[in-house]
């Protein structure tokens, strides 16, 4: 299994396509960081405009933690598309090159084969998120420094102490890994049904875009299906940045407002991963490999 995984990883990182995602993320983050470095005060004034009606907020609002939150909000919608580029190519790419049948002539079980490919896609996904974390969090901390963080919700704002933030990002990135592996599992599942990469990549992107639109529209009829869409739960990482308050409305350090929601979303995403990977194994075992 380990050898298989190494082979798969070698194949992934040998292809130039793999690095598109890393380059794209680097470019996007750099542009946003540059923009915020130059005009960060104006951006902060814009997003804090409603609060500024009543309150005077003094301090380093545009700091590394805040910038990272802005970046994650922007990028975690688009990163799935970059993950689909690799995950949806895992089986279909082999089929396209005609190497799938050749590989299966080796004395390896199909389950083992498919799991090695899936784990390789997972490692790619995790590495992409680690790269995202390095650029969005650590580089932002270096450029903008650190301070308390203001998180703006629809009906309220949360001020989190700087000493209480880092573990939240660690949790948020772990949750993001789970969400992105769900995307990878979907792409991986769809890649079984085509003999070229374009079809499953576009299909995965389409599913994500379609579900995301349904998840974000506040129309009562869609509210019924929202809890069952994995895209609804992919954004639950934000729960790490909401804090409980005591009776005096003081934030309680080290707490999360709705841990139940976080656990529920994690379980739903995990169920999706198991479902997609299980279905992939089932389909692949039954499949008559001709390419």
């Amino acid at each position: 299994m380990w050898t298989l995984l190494q082979i798969e990883l070698y194949k992934i990182f040998r292809r130039p396509r793999t690095y598109i995602a890393f380059v794209a993320i680097t470019a996007l983050i750099t542009i946003v960081q540059l923009g915020l470095k130059v005009d960060g005060k104006e951006y902060a004034a814009f997003v804090m405009a409603d609060l500024s009606n009543t309150l005077q907020i003094d301090g380093k609002i545009v700091n590394g933690y805040f910038v990272c939150y802005v970046l994650l909000q922007l990028l975690l919608v688009h990163v799935p598309l970059l993950i689909a580029l690799i995950a949806a190519d895992m089986i279909s790419g082999e089929a396209n090159m005609g190497t799938l049948r050749l590989m299966l002539t080796k004395p390896i079980g199909r389950t083992q084969f498919i799991l090695a490919k899936f784990f390789a896609a997972c490692i790619y996904t995790i590495l992409l998120l680690i790269w995202l974390a390095i650029l969005a969090l650590f580089v932002s901390m270096l450029i903008f420094g650190t301070d308390d963080m203001f998180v703006l919700k629809n009906n309220y704002a949360v001020q989190i102490e700087s000493a209480d933030i880092f573990w939240r990002y660690a949790g948020a990135f772990c949750f993001a890994c789970l969400a992105m592996i769900t995307v990878a599992a979907l792409g991986f599942f769809l890649s079984q049904f085509a003999e070229n990469s374009i079809g499953p990549i576009v299909a995965t992107m389409s599913v994500i875009i379609f579900f995301t639109i349904l998840s974000t529209m506040s129309i009562p009829i869609f509210n019924l299906i929202k809890p069952y869409l994995f895209t609804t739960h992919m954004v639950a990482w934000k729960e790490f940045f909401d804090v409980k308050v005591n009776a005096d409305n003081e934030t309680i350090r080290g707490t999360i407002q709705r841990p139940d929601k976080l656990i529920n979303s994690s379980l739903i995403l995990l169920a999706h991963i198991v479902l997609f990977v299980g279905a992939s194994i089932y389909v692949f075992k039954k499949k008559d490999v001709l390419s």
């Binding site: 009606n53 009543t54 005077q56 309220y156 001020q159 929202k226």
Partner: protein, 249 residues
Amino acid sequence: MYLRKKMCSVNDVIIMKQFSKIFFCTSLFVFSFSFAVNAQDMTALVQKVKAKLDLVNDYVADGKMKTDVAFIKAPVGKIKLYFKKPNLIKIKRDNGISVLPKGGISVNMSSVIASKDYVALLSGDAVIDGIKTKIVKLLPMNENSEIILTTLYIDEPNLLIKKAVTTTKENGTYEMEFFYGQFANYGLPDKVIFAFNTKDYKMPKGITLEFDDDGKPSEKDKLKNKKGKVEITYSSYIINKGIDNNIFK
């Protein structure tokens, strides 16, 4: 005989009318005089309070600040408050962001009564925390003043302001309560509670990128509370040691 009686009654009426006029004028004069005396007395009292506060040219105070605004979840933070006469004030939170009511209304009374352009009128007495206080209304003489009216509750024997309610043109009404302790001699409080009106807060979902409803129903009800409160508890003061003006920039 009849004519004589008639003449007498006419004279009585004239005398009565004249007496009434004199009485009315005298009363008006006495009332106006007493009113003027009262106003003058309160100006004197306010000046005495100001003179006490003027003992402090500058100070640096350490304390804890608690922000209680319905739509903000904020931690209690350590702060440093810098004050320099006449009205320079800066609150710095140790390693953090400070949230204060907008409008720059100071948490120090010196700046409220720093100006001499006001009329001070007695408005009655009130008991605050078991202490009898004089209610003094300060009306600014300058029509362009941001402050419309300030009501002070003054502990006359100790020359301490126990409470102040300030109504402004742009930023609503502020209420400050002062609790004194070891620095009462300088007119500096150990604790200040600053209450103010808040406006509605609603962020577009396009900015927050949060598309599900946040907050439980009970929390939403809490958000309807339109009164904000900032509470500062001071632990120490460093008085009249000089402060660089750059701190207030």
